[in-house]
Homo-oligomer: 153 residues x 2
DNA sequence: TTAGCATATGAGATACTGTATCATTAAGAA
DNA sequence: TTCTTAATGATACAGTATCTCATATGCTAA
């Protein structure tokens, strides 16, 4: 989960600028605005949420630019895309995070994170025995969070 | 994984007919065609694949009907929906299957299945301690399958 | 400062998956 | 065969993401 940490934000900004410089891209208005907005967001977010936030705040960025900068941030290793069973693109911050999985509440759609355990290795062995080269894995629990259970009738 | 098994298909067809009768629905042309097409498909499939298959074979069914019958088959317990990190609806057959997870090849998009192990329980304990009520979970590995590794340059 | 070029951007079109509407067709009972 | 009702397809639509391309902007070199 994201703690506000100005030093970290500056580190990430430096990383972003280095990436842009190396790729011969410019530090444009859109990239600065959206970088700031992403850094302000906590935990997980979707592309749509970010677009809506920018429109509400009347930031001078368009929908395609949001998606373009999200791709820049992915390339720069500042955010990571996480797959879920819906039609939205989900992202989360990379910094200061240990490998973890997600549990999502089907009512409020919030996430709980839990650390990756080496017990998953038993599956690795099984797959590797079949010649499958593992590049990654995600575990996704779904259910009802504590708060939403309390709200139940 | 699906073995062609005529007896099983007849069992599933009977189950489908029972379900339709109980719900007061008709055994229509579209339902028969799409049931057959689903039974012909092996393993996992998406709604889009099924639609394309029907169009290619010039079967007399429309896109909305494919989706409607998929919902019928879900209700009847003949197929089950599985969530993946893309924007497609994924389905698989229910019969003769034990709880399992999926590994998907990023090249050919085929699936390998592996059985669910009780080692996942360690995550259950963690989440339940936080008051999260678990309704289900999926584990999704991605990587490169044996065949695609052999095809590499 | 200015000119010139390459990149970034936004408006709008487009792709793609999935649903909703509704007039028409067809299943199944009598 | 007739009648009632469910099923269907054509079409429009919703929602997310991407593409196109003319224009705007940042950057570099005079
Ligand atoms: Zn909740
Ligand atoms: Zn996370
Ligand atoms: Zn493969
Ligand atoms: Zn499966």
């Amino acid at each position: 989960m994201l703690k506000v940490d100005l030093q970290m934000i500056e580190n990430e900004r430096a990383k972003f600028l280095r990436h842009l410089a190396k790729a011969g891209r410019r530090v444009s208005h859109g990239r600065e605005i959206i970088f700031d907005e992403v850094m302000r967001s906590h935990g997980h977010f979707t592309a749509e949420e970010l677009v809506k936030e920018c429109l509400q705040k009347k930031l001078k960025v368009s929908r395609p630019t949001v998606f373009r900068v999200l791709n820049d941030l992915l390339e720069a290793g500042i955010i990571r895309e996480t797959a879920f069973g819906d039609k939205h693109r989900h992202f989360e911050h990379v910094y200061d995070e240990k490998p973890h999985h997600h549990a999502q509440c089907i009512r409020c759609h919030n996430f709980i994170e839990f650390p990756d355990r080496k017990e998953d290795k038993i599956y690795h062995q099984y797959l590797e025995k079949q010649g499958f080269k593992i590049l990654g894995h995600e575990m996704h629990f779904y259910g009802i969070c504590k708060d939403c259970q309390l709200k139940e009738v």
